[in-house]
């Protein structure tokens, strides 16, 4: 078996050094009734060729996003990642290295995390960021837990513009912690309802920008209302490229900013692995969950980096930890950071501008085709009202080779909006794709 280096001769020799007659002797502590002698009812080992064939067969049953016109967004976005990113993350020293607990032989990882933290703080317009979380949705839930610790209040208000999966994830964790969650009904313009829901027990409000309907807005009024009541404002961003065009959460008064970083450096991957971004103000740093890389010096006075403020974490505080988290999303954070360094400030701004321009073209085309566009101001995603059931429309157009976005009902079957379709355009969307979408939609209404 190609991944098992021991030979029968090795095994025999090793057993004699150990002083055991057989491998079974080493499993002597396993209760007799629990010992399985026969092999499990699963296929036997297979060579690379066979495994590749089977996986290619399964992959071939899927329709890749790049195979035709594609407009799905709703929290995961298709962007072009430069070739060197995937090449660099596959270097042995990045791919097969461990958590940097021994900093002397992990300065590569630690410096990357420090650079990543700096990039995330800059993008979100806040002061400190952690070394990543599993994804945007769990980062959102963790932010609410953090607001509870900081304010010592038990209530959180979730905006009607928040991605339903993020709201559900937050509810699951908050329920476990005994917090009270007010989840406002889905709404394209969520501001008034959020402000009205703030009271003296509110630890935080959670607002998304651009929101799940693609709408962008100025959050400063919400921030003022929250702060006046002693609550924190948490801002969620599911499309990280928007940081290159839209005013940052920090600028608009966010106390904590969380985001899904998938758009930068990481592919769609059917939902994971992704990378959660988490940033906050310096005064809250000891309440922040997740790993942190910090700058220091070594015994020869040279600059170096270490994991720090670890006493917040599970392996030390145990039951008093700020969270139970053990891993971050290391390799995905590396991919994010590499892509970010290739973009730089000018590249990110240009890329964001491109996304927005393409979305303007999309918007104009669907409006011209007679569909009602519900999102007034947007970054790269719009919500449109379609005749009839949006999910049925999407299924039908998929059969014609067009992936026509995500029906809102797929994210949340309960909240009405059965005729609302979410359409995203990125730099990978072509004018031909948009024409194909419009033609398919028009064929349907005239049929």
């Amino acid at each position: 078996m190609r991944y098992l280096p021991l030979t029968p001769a090795d095994r025999a020799q090793m057993l004699s050094v150990i002083g055991a007659a057989s491998i079974d002797e080493l499993f002597v502590d396993v209760p007799a009734t629990a010992r399985r002698q026969a092999l499990f009812d699963l296929p036997l080992h297979a060579g690379e060729l066979e495994v590749e064939r089977e996986l290619s067969r399964l992959a071939g049953l899927n329709r890749a996003a790049g195979a035709g016109p594609f407009f799905c967004g709703a929290g995961a976005y298709r962007h072009h990642v430069p070739a060197s990113v995937d090449h660099l993350i596959q270097r042995s020293e990045f791919l097969t290295s461990y958590t940097p607990y021994q900093p002397e032989i992990a300065q590569g990882t630690l410096q990357v995390l420090f650079e990543f933290q700096t990039q995330v703080a800059a993008l979100t317009g806040l002061e400190v960021a952690n070394a990543s979380m599993y994804d945007g949705s769990t980062a959102c839930a963790e932010a609410v837990m953090m607001a509870q610790r900081v304010t010592r209040r038990e209530r959180a208000v979730l905006s009607g513009g928040l991605h339903p999966h993020y709201a559900a994830t937050t509810q699951t964790l908050a329920h476990a912690e005994g917090m009270e969650i007010e989840r406002l009904p889905a709404a394209i313009d969520a501001e008034a309802a959020v402000i009205a829901a703030i009271n003296a027990q509110t630890a935080c409000v959670v607002v998304q920008n651009p929101n799940v309907f693609g709408a962008v807005s100025d959050l400063t009024k919400i921030a003022e209302a929250a702060h006046a009541a002693g609550a924190l404002m948490i801002v969620v961003t599911t499309e990280a490229i928007s940081f290159g065009l839209i005013r940052s959460p920090g600028e608009m008064g966010a106390d904590i900013a969380v985001a899904e970083g998938q758009s930068i450096g990481n592919g769609l991957n059917f939902g994971g692995p992704y990378v959660g971004l988490f940033a906050t103000r310096e005064k809250f740093v000891r309440q922040m969950p997740g790993r942190l890389a910090g700058e220091t010096v070594d015994a020869e006075g040279r600059r170096g980096f270490v994991l720090t403020l670890s006493t917040r974490e599970q392996h030390i505080r145990r039951e008093k930890a700020t969270s139970n988290i053990c891993t971050n999303s290391g390799l995905c954070a590396l991919a994010f950071s590499i892509h970010m360094s290739l973009l730089g400030e000018t590249g990110l701004r240009r890329l964001a501008a491109l996304n927005h321009a393409r979305a303007r073209t999309l918007r104009d085309a669907v409006a011209a085709a007679g569909l009602e566009v519900l999102t007034p101001r947007f970054f790269n995603e719009i919500a449109v009202r379609v005749p009839g059931d949006a999910a049925a429309l999407v299924d039908e157009l998929a059969g014609q080779g067009v992936l026509a976005g995500v029906p809102f009902s797929r994210l949340d079957p309960h909240d009405g909006f059965k005729d609302v379709l979410l359409l995203a355009a990125t730099e990978t969307t072509t004018v031909e794709d948009i024409q194909a979408l419009v033609s398919a939609l028009q064929r349907r209404t005239t049929a």
Partner: protein, 527 residues
């Protein structure tokens, strides 16, 4: 105070530079120095070529971000050099052994990487209509089948994104089950003193009080103490098996029986599954829920700290409470059940957006297909053989914490053998770095003084094991001979010397801040 006596030096002593050759400009041969991105890059540099946008952002008015962001960019050649130079400073499995107990640092097969990058998996959106993602759903379904078969459990939740996330999933299901059965008053979780920190952290997170179960002289759960502590207020026990001392809990059937008799559930931390995969089924041991670390047992890469994946297998009693989403068959094909409706109404709710770590599912499935039922059984056998070999080779010089009887996939030593040498576990570990090995897990489990937990895994050849043992035996001899200097200021040969963790924690510096335009801040001076 709850005094934690793990205080060990976190500030290095001033280093002796030794008689090593010095270059003229500070260079060190192949090991290239590299500054921070913000020092070597600039806001005016970029490594991408993008076309002009066809429209402007005038429709966004004052929402447009005009203030500088502060992001440094690099051209592609500079970026490649930056990251390749950084990569040189990392240890990696591809380089040499990581003998880290309970981490299962096995080889990461490259076929897994190739498979995960097939466009049909990598370029697939989670919210595409399921008619266009049948291959992905089939893979998830097959992976679930393998996990259920290997563990002997009837249900599995695939969505948890890491082991700790899986623990959360298991405990939330347990909590939901108790509430559904009118047993919501059970507020306590029991964990052994040797438990991994995520266990009590997760239990506390879910709102439980945590009590510890004592350990016997031979490193196992104290049955009498467990029986005494079980009662109508206990919701669950959280036990690792094999445990964190590397030992199989011989009384595991009795542990499960006592727990169930008291009306509690048995959560098993599956971190050490590599020792028994293909030979023992946790379902046969009375386990109700167990997370499986795909990045441990099933070879998905550690990537410098993540991403992981922690699917959770469930017994029949807990299966109704597993969270969405699930893959279900509807006659025509597969689809995703994303809401807790109908028969699934008891499920406790969503754990994260979308469906879980599909990229890790592809890698783990490729690993499973490659090994097969026969290969996986051999994995456990070779893992246990390798650990016992190391234990046998080192026990003459180092003190095994539990010398009687075999260990499982990891061997645990204490620091009794270092007494009188002036060398601590920490010093010994740092000296291992100079010999070319990553230190073993240190000071864990907490129940053993100066613990050293060594897990080689099955992908180490006998040649590597012998090289490792030779290095440790030589170091042990040096320690006993009084060569303290070798240890106290080690490592000498790594890309960095010992780092000042005290300074990092007292004066946290977590981002690069520009002191003035174009000038990097001066490096921190040691206090």
């Amino acid at each position: 105070m709850s005094l934690q006596s793990v205080g060990r030096p976190t500030q290095p002593q001033p280093a002796e530079l030794g008689g090593a050759h010095r270059s003229l400009t500070g260079g060190r041969g192949l090991l290239q120095e590299e500054g921070l991105l913000f020092e070597v890059g600039g806001v005016d540099r970029t490594g991408v070529d993008l076309p002009e946008p066809e429209a402007d952002a005038s429709d966004l008015g004052d929402l447009v971000r005009s203030a500088p962001i502060g992001l440094a960019g690099l051209s592609e050649p500079e970026a490649v050099r930056h990251y390749v130079r950084l990569s040189q400073k990392n240890h990696a499995i591809d380089l040499a052994l990581y003998p880290l107990g309970s981490c299962t640092m096995k080889h990461n097969p490259r076929l897994n990487e190739k498979a995960a990058r097939l466009a049909g998996f990598a370029d697939l959106h989670p919210m595409q209509p399921t008619s266009t993602t049948q291959g992905a759903l089939q893979l998830m379904d097959r992976l679930a089948h393998w996990l259920k078969t290997l563990t002997g459990m009837p249900a599995v939740a695939l969505s948890p994104k890491a082991g700790a996330h899986g623990e959360l999933c298991g405990l939330l299901a347990i909590k939901a089950a108790h509430e559904a059965n009118g047993q919501g008053a059970r507020r306590r979780v029991l964990t052994p003193t040797s438990a991994h920190g995520t266990n009590p952290a997760t239990a506390a997170f879910v709102g439980y009080d945590v009590s510890e179960i004592a350990q016997t002289e031979d490193g196992r759960v104290d049955l009498a103490d467990l029986a005494a502590k079980l009662g109508p207020d206990v919701a669950a026990i959280m036990v690792t098996n094999p445990n964190t001392c590397g030992l199989f809990e011989r009384d595991i059937l009795e542990i499960a029986r006592l727990t169930h008799a008291a009306g509690a559930y048995f959560y098993c931390d599956g971190a050490n599954f590599n020792a028994i995969v293909g030979r023992v089924r946790p379902g046969d041991l009375g386990v109700d829920a167990m997370h499986i670390n795909l990045h441990k047992t099933f070879s998905t890469p550690h990537g410098g700290g993540g991403p992981g994946a922690g699917p959770v297998v469930f017994s029949a009693a807990l299966a109704p409470f597993a969270p969405a989403p699930w893959v279900v068959s509807d006659g025509e094909g597969l689809r995703l059940e994303e809401e807790a409706v109908g028969a699934a109404v008891q499920a406790f709710g969503r754990l994260c957006a979308f469906h879980g770590q599909m990229g890790m599912f592809v890698r783990a499935y490729a690993y499973m297909l490659s090994h097969g039922a026969d290969g996986l059984r051999q994995v456990a056998e070779d893992a246990v053989l390798n650990a016992n070999y190391i234990k046998a080779r080192l026990s003459g010089v180092m003190t095994a914490a539990f010398p009687n009887g075999p260990c499982m996939h990891e061997a645990l030593f204490d620091d009794a053998w270092l007494e009188g040498t002036g060398v601590t576990t920490l010093d010994f570990a740092k000296a291992m770095i100079d010999e070319g090995f990553h230190p073993m897990t240190m000071y864990f489990p907490l129940v053993v003084h100066g613990a050293m937990l060594i897990e080689p895994t099955e992908t180490e050849s006998k040649r590597e094991l012998d090289r490792f043992c030779a290095a440790l035996l030589a170091l042990a001899q040096a320690a006993k001979a009084g060569d303290v200097a070798r240890f106290k200021a080690a490592p000498y040969l790594a890309p960095a010397r010992r780092l000042d963790e005290t300074l990092a924690a007292r004066k946290p510096r977590l981002t690069w801040r520009q002191e003035s335009a174009g000038v990097a801040p001066a490096p921190l001076a040691a206090e």
